[in-house]
Amino acid sequence: MRIHVILNLYIFKVKMLLGTLKASKASIALLIFYTFGLLPGLFGLSLTLSNAVRETVDINPCIEQLSSIASLLMVFAISLALRGYTVFEYEQNIILTSPIKPREYLIADTFSNLTSLSIFANPLVIFYLMIVYLLKLSISSALLILLSVLLFTFTLLFLKVSFSIVKSLYRGVLTNIFILATIFLLLFPSAGLISDLPIGYTLLPYPSTFLAKIIVGLVYGLDNLIIDLTGLSFYFLLSLLFFLSASMKNFFPSVSSIPFISPFDTSMRMQNLQMERSIRVFSRMGVISILNPESRSILVFLMKKEFIRVLREGSLFTIILLYLLASLIATSISGSLSQNQQILPYSLTFIVGVYSLTIPLMLVSNWRASDSGNLWIQLTSGMDIYVMVKALLYTFISLSSTIPVVVVAVLSMIYKVNPIAPLILTISTSMIGCSVNLYVMIGLIKLKGIGAPSLLIGLVSMLLSILLLTPVYILVMLELNLGFGDAKSWLSIVVVVAYSILITKILSKEIGKNIYNIEL
């Protein structure tokens, strides 16, 4: 094993990773935004957690929950192995064709992955420091937590690499069964969290359990952690052995290559590549066509086409996932606030409001990544561009409003709260959000070409949406605080919907004008 080769390779890979960060100001802005954008949330979370730690007597639920989170991370890492060992195209062309040995490559790759992870985990470091400070942990405890997390992280990386190599070398069903069985073993104790079954992570000697016991034990000042530390170290050594034996195999001819996509790269080319990958993944679910020439209305036909896009590029799946998450948060809030039912409409409205604003942004951003490059087709076809704008907006609005409306309706029925305020907010946010996002997107494409930074588009769209939604927010607040009564509530819905339609109409005309004047 040649150390200088590993070092050179590691430096090269890190340079490739950071190169894209240096290439664009938007990428640097994205990283800063990511770090500082998470800070307030992490600060709040650390305060809540430290308070909860002070008030909690029974530590077993804490261990159980932390173990389940750590196990989920393990499952995520191992499930990535199902696609086999993947390398970037540049690696396959430049590195794997050189006389480098698999083990040298793997060590450099593992450390570059760790570097990439540590850049991404930088907000977590701040979170860790806050927890250490707020709970007044001793330096030795803080260091021991850090060491345990590092051991666990290495275990994850080694397992992911080893399982991937096994999958690449032995592509049979047995390998899949082996990986899926491991995933099942890691996941099944979580059933104890949501049912009365007498199973749980605390009862099993999992690496995640050892990690959770160490962290919780150190936070609560327990001394007897030798067994847990030994257990975690044992798993680390076991995964290291697995890694070392897997690295002895020449797996280079069995790898599959993927395009180089750096997480810091915000360029349109990268977004297109990501979208292409997404279409390949979601198209595996089957291509059901609803597009046929028999549609009498061109508007309905174009809406169907947009719906197909949203389905096949995975946007619909993401929306459903986001709202499932939102529903879970709303449900858990309602559970914790069961004594104070009056707060529920506020939390429901807040959650719906926050999520509803992100959906139009996501829909329009995905349209830009997958379809804005195809505008030449419509622009040279002689079709009425305003019909295309209508089709886009109607699809976006129907998608971004239907799912939250259902969520609000179901939750308000379960918890017997008045759905008017969240419904007003959802419908209005969807209409105004979609038209504003599309307006800003097209405006910036017209000004700067297809390559306008998406972060900028997102920020401008969010700000403009919030500005135009201010009257709606005020009305919703009044409705929540004063409780208009049935007649006034319905009137307020009519006013808000009329206002939203007006904004949508004005913006859709402007969007059409701007699209017509885009130079491609």
């Binding site: 979208m275 292409e276 279409i279 390949r280 198209s283 291509v287 066509s289 597009l291 046929n292 020439p293 028999e294 549609s295 061109i298 036909f301 174009l302 086409k305 197909i308 896009r309 096949r312 590029e313 997958s370 379809d371 490059g373 195809n374 030449w376 087709i377 419509q378 622009l379 040279t380 076809s381 002689g382 079709m383 009425d384 017509y516 004047n517 130079e519 491609l520």
Partner: protein, 260 residues
């Protein structure tokens, strides 16, 4: 003489760089017309202005005798266009994309079905009809793009570098197709770097350089203009005319700066 495309004193600049400088061009009905010129001469800009993807700064463009800014939608129904680098909706299947192309061009349902059958057969895409575009090779995508440009059987087919990325059999097929269309009274307008192909395929060509029409006509006229002799190839004619244009351009530039 009936022209299907006329460009009269067309000017276009991007970020202060003059792409077209008073370009004049005529394409006759029922011919294969080639636009040739070095990189950056303004070929793609010219085609994009005609199909409405770029707005000219000044000048006049007529398609089938009608000012394109007077009827910005209607004239496009006559045109089928394929750009140099083709971007297609990856999330649609080949058949869905062809249906979509037909619908947005106002082709009737019955006609769309017939045209799809004909075009997928012509371009040997039958077994790819239900494949997603994302799964196609570059050459296949080019074929799909050309098929979509033909879905409404346009009077004028405009293609920017149509032979790039297509295998020799595909290229042969395209040349046959262009000749067939001309026989039916349709017009094919291509821009290309492949001078030997242009020489054999095109009825007339225009050589453009630095946004101006240096010479246009059939090969016989171009040979006379360039004084390259009877046996000269289009490549020799092209090089001679470009050289002369470069000399003229340099002289004009120096005159402008007052150095001569």
């Amino acid at each position: 003489m009936t022209f299907i495309v006329e460009l009269i004193d067309v000017w276009k600049s991007y970020n202060g760089i003059q792409a077209l400088r008073g370009l004049n061009l005529e394409v006759r009905k029922g011919e294969i017309f080639g636009l040739i010129g070095p990189n950056g001469a303004g070929k793609t800009t010219t085609l994009k202005i005609i199909v409405g993807l770029l707005k000219m700064d000044r000048g006049l463009v007529k398609v089938n005798g009608v000012d394109i800014y007077e009827k910005p939608y209607e004239y496009k129904k006559l045109i089928g266009y394929v750009p140099e680098s083709v971007s297609l909706p990856d999330y649609l299947t080949v058949e869905e994309f062809l249906i979509y192309s037909g619908k947005i061009r106002g082709v009737s349902t019955k006609h769309i079905r017939e045209r799809i059958d004909h075009l997928t057969n012509l371009f040997e895409l039958e077994d790819k009809r239900r494949s997603l575009i994302v799964s196609l090779s570059k050459g296949m995508r080019q074929k799909v793009a050309i098929a979509s440009a033909l879905i409404h059987d346009p009077d004028l087919l405009i293609l920017d570098e149509p032979f790039i990325g297509i295998d020799p059999m595909g290229q042969h097929l395209l040349k046959e197709l262009f000749s067939e269309r001309v026989k039916d009274g349709k017009t094919v307008f291509i821009s290309t770097h492949m001078l030997d192909t242009a020489e054999r395929l095109c009825d007339r060509v225009a050589i453009i350089y630095k946004g101006q029409n240096v010479a246009s006509g059939d090969l016989k006229i171009l040979k006379q203009l360039s004084r390259t002799g009877e046996n000269a190839t289009l490549e020799e004619v092209f090089l001679k005319l470009i050289e002369e244009a470069e000399v003229k351009s340099t002289r004009d530039e120096m005159l402008k700066r007052g150095r001569l």
